[in-house]
Amino acid sequence: MTEPAIRTAELEKAYFGVPALDPIDLEVPEGQRVTLIGHNGSGKTTLLRILAGTLESTGGGATVMGHPIGSSDARATLSFLTDQPVFYDDLTVWEHLEYVARLHHTVDWEEHAVDLLDRFGISDRADDLPATFSRGLKQKAAIAIAFVRPFDVVLVDEPFVGLDRAGREALLELFDDAHADGATLVVATHELSSADRADRLLALREGALIFDGRPDAADLPDLVG
């Protein structure tokens, strides 16, 4: 049997004894596109950060493509686009792309990088320092960096924050392309308008999974209300 792209078993998290994520059992098959919704503080970011290996769970476990979260193999297969872009102050966008691509042993990364910069309309800013960019431009640069390397699973947290209309459309197109290529996507968002593009909708409320099904079967306003 094929190992799911993401599997969690009784995965839970508490901050200073306060539960942030109730025990969650989840399986996301390879190639599935998942939208994760929930109000502020519902546990979306916590779940994604645990899956990405940047946050430790307080119970249970999880795997990404069969590898324990946070392991070298899991990191190789998973790309995480956070809601807070982080850059080196002294590297240009292009140098970031090169560095990340090389760390992931990416073949022909230059062509891919050029395509990503074109999609988001920031080709002319490739030699600029992203640390000096506006919020929206930083987000575009961060998206390019997250997608310049090979991956099987992409975790995305609030990707539309700060993006202009063209940027949002470019990002949705990028998600479509990645999905068509067989990647597994989990996108946490408050943008309900894009939820119907997903194969599956997960909704969290106060750390508990309250909905798991097809987006067209969900009462979206009720789930995030």
Partner: protein, 571 residues
């Protein structure tokens, strides 16, 4: 990590280093290093002579050799205990946030990726402590047998050992994922054992029943100025091996802690760069994951929300302008804030107060230079206690949303903090009494004035962080926009102005030195009363400044602007 990964990381670091150094002239750097070393050497020699005796006349070299290892071992154990606790809280390495996000999230071997930052951390801590201990070594050498150079070298080696063990302990605690309480328990147990050994050696009058401390041999390295034991050579080798092993533990560091630390440390470095001492203290608290208590001290259960029936008036409350605004409301809010201080912070307050008491006692009986420590420690004590004021200052939009004068609110916040400082000062008096029982009366009489005087700087540092009134904020005194290219002071003086602004609060805490130095000169009841009055006057001035600072700023600005308007009209 494959050779490709290694090359990638090396290329990146080389690129960044080249960019950082840019057009820096190596000759210029060498010249600065030379100036620093030369100035440092002169400062050490001058200060060494100013310090006077650090070892009593009746203490012999033989006694130092017999008792020194256990006492120095206590310092080593303290460093290890601090390291263990720091490691359990995510130390000792601080990476850039981008390194955590991009480098550590890639599939490279984390052990290799972290080898260099860990080694750098160990090197810098060991070097800093070696420098400090070397200076102390040459100080001690003046009153003992052996050359100044050999004692300085032994001190430096001992300091480096302490630094290496501190980082190694932190690495081990972090990689082994020791819970904080376990790290603290190990540290306390080790410290207790070594303290018992040091105490038994100090109290020993030639008897052979002294306790052997676990780190006596490491402490003995500090005695290499004139003698060394085989066990100490073995201890040094063990320390070296442990340090090397600890450097290799990078792969076990927790990415969650590294990420959190990366964010805070970048802010901390920035605050330190601009010499913002208060922000440094605030960020260090965050680094230690120190959060205020959800349930206040003394509260058995959360206060229930009153069950009052909703009425139309509840939707839009009304105001009675005749109702007086009681200062007690702010006082109550202040004491409520203090009741939420975490236990660790309260312990720190007690320890700082005790340290201030010990330093004050040493100032009176030993060297007046210890008073610098009294001022510094009471300043830090004040920063720990001004939480209510700090909360208010850091949320100006909330304060300005209240139809009350900001200065009035700030000054009333001093009541709760002052009470905490006063309560903590009892620990200082007790510590001073323990050091020198003959000082008991003076210590208890002056503890509160000294502690409150030391807190003056903390209040000034905090209040200075409050936003200025809009009229003052938007233009400089000469009427230019704050954003104008030409600042009020020439660039040559900007650094001096910044340093002045940063260290002025600490200097103001110098009021705490007055009672201590006065008691050193003339330890009488009259001196205590007179200096207490002086401190009281300083405290009154402080309260007036806090209350009227905004009004004075606006008044000065209006005065200058009126003058400018008149001049313009005349011409």
């Amino acid at each position: 990590m494959s050779s490709t990964d290694r090359r990638t990381v090396r290329d990146l670091r080389a690129l960044r280093r080249a960019r950082r150094l840019g057009d820096t002239e190596w000759f210029d750097i060498a010249y600065r290093v030379y100036l620093f070393a030369f100035g440092g050497l002169i400062a050490v020699v001058v200060l060494s002579d100013a310090v006077g005796e650090v070892v009593d006349d009746d203490v012999t070299t033989d006694q130092v050799l017999a008792k020194g290892p256990a006492v120095l071992g206590l310092v080593v154990m303290a460093a290890i205990a601090i390291g263990l606790r720091g490691g359990s809280e995510g130390g000792p390495v601080a990476l850039e946030a981008a390194d955590v996000r991009h480098l550590l999230m890639s599939p490279v071997d984390r052990r290799m990726a972290l080898l260099r930052p860990v080694a750098q951390r160990m090197r810098s801590v060991a070097f800093g402590l070696a420098l400090g201990a070397g200076v102390i070594g040459q100080l001690v050498a003046r009153e003992l047998e052996g050359s100044r150079g050999s004692w300085a070298a032994a001190g430096a080696l001992y300091g480096a050992t302490v630094g290496a063990l501190y980082v190694a302990a932190a690495m081990i605690a972090h990689a082994a994922r020791l819970p904080r309480w376990v790290a603290t328990a190990i540290g306390v147990a080790g410290f207790g054992w070594q303290a018992a050994a040091a105490w038994s050696v100090l109290a020993d009058d030639g008897r052979r029943d002294a306790i052997t401390g676990p780190l006596d041999a490491v402490g003995g390295i500090g005695m290499w100025g004139i003698r060394s034991e085989p066990s100490e050579i073995v201890a040094l080798l063990v320390v070296a091996l442990v340090s090397l092993a600890a450097v290799e533990l990078g792969g076990g560091l927790r990415i969650e802690r590294l990420a959190r630390r990366a964010d805070l440390v970048s802010q901390l470095k920035f605050a330190a760069t601009i010499q913002d001492l208060r922000t440094v203290v605030l960020l260090r608290r965050q680094l230690r994951s120190e959060v205020l208590r959800t349930r206040p001290w003394g509260a058995r259960q959360p206060r229930p929300v009153p069950s009052v029936a909703a009425t139309p008036s509840a939707a839009r409350p009304t105001r009675d302008p005749a109702t007086a605004t009681p200062g007690s409301l702010v006082h109550r809010r202040g004491f409520a804030s203090l009741r939420r201080l975490p236990g660790a912070r309260l312990w720190r307050i007690v320890l700082l107060a005790a340290l201030a008491g010990i330093l004050a006692s040493l100032t009176v009986t030993n060297s007046p230079l210890f008073v610098v420590g009294v001022v510094g420690v009471t300043f830090l004590l004040g920063l720990e206690c001004v939480e209510p004021l700090s909360q208010e200052i850091d949320r100006p939009s909330l304060t300005d949303g209240v139809p009350l004068d900001r200065g009035w609110i700030y000054s009333h916040h001093l009541v709760a903090s002052g009470a905490l400082v006063a309560a903590a000062s009892i620990a200082g008096a007790a510590a001073a009494t323990a050091i020198e029982p003959a000082h008991a009366a003076g210590a208890f009489a002056l503890a509160v004035p000294v502690a409150l005087a030391g807190a003056i700087g903390a209040v000034v540092a905090t209040v200075r962080d409050a936003p200025q009134p809009a009229i003052v904020r938007e233009t400089t005194l000469i009427g230019q926009s704050r954003n104008a290219d030409s600042p009020l002071v020439p660039p040559e003086f900007a650094g001096m102005k910044s340093a002045y602004g940063s260290f002025m609060p600490v200097v103001m805490s110098g009021v705490a030195a007055i009672p201590v130095l006065a008691m050193r000169a003339e330890p009488t009841a009259g001196t205590a009363v007179r200096t207490s009055i002086a401190v009281t006057l300083a405290l009154i001035l402080l309260v007036v400044w806090v209350q009227r600072r905004d009004r004075w700023s606006i008044g000065l600005r209006r005065f200058v602007e009126e003058g400018r308007r008149q001049t313009k009209a005349a011409t």
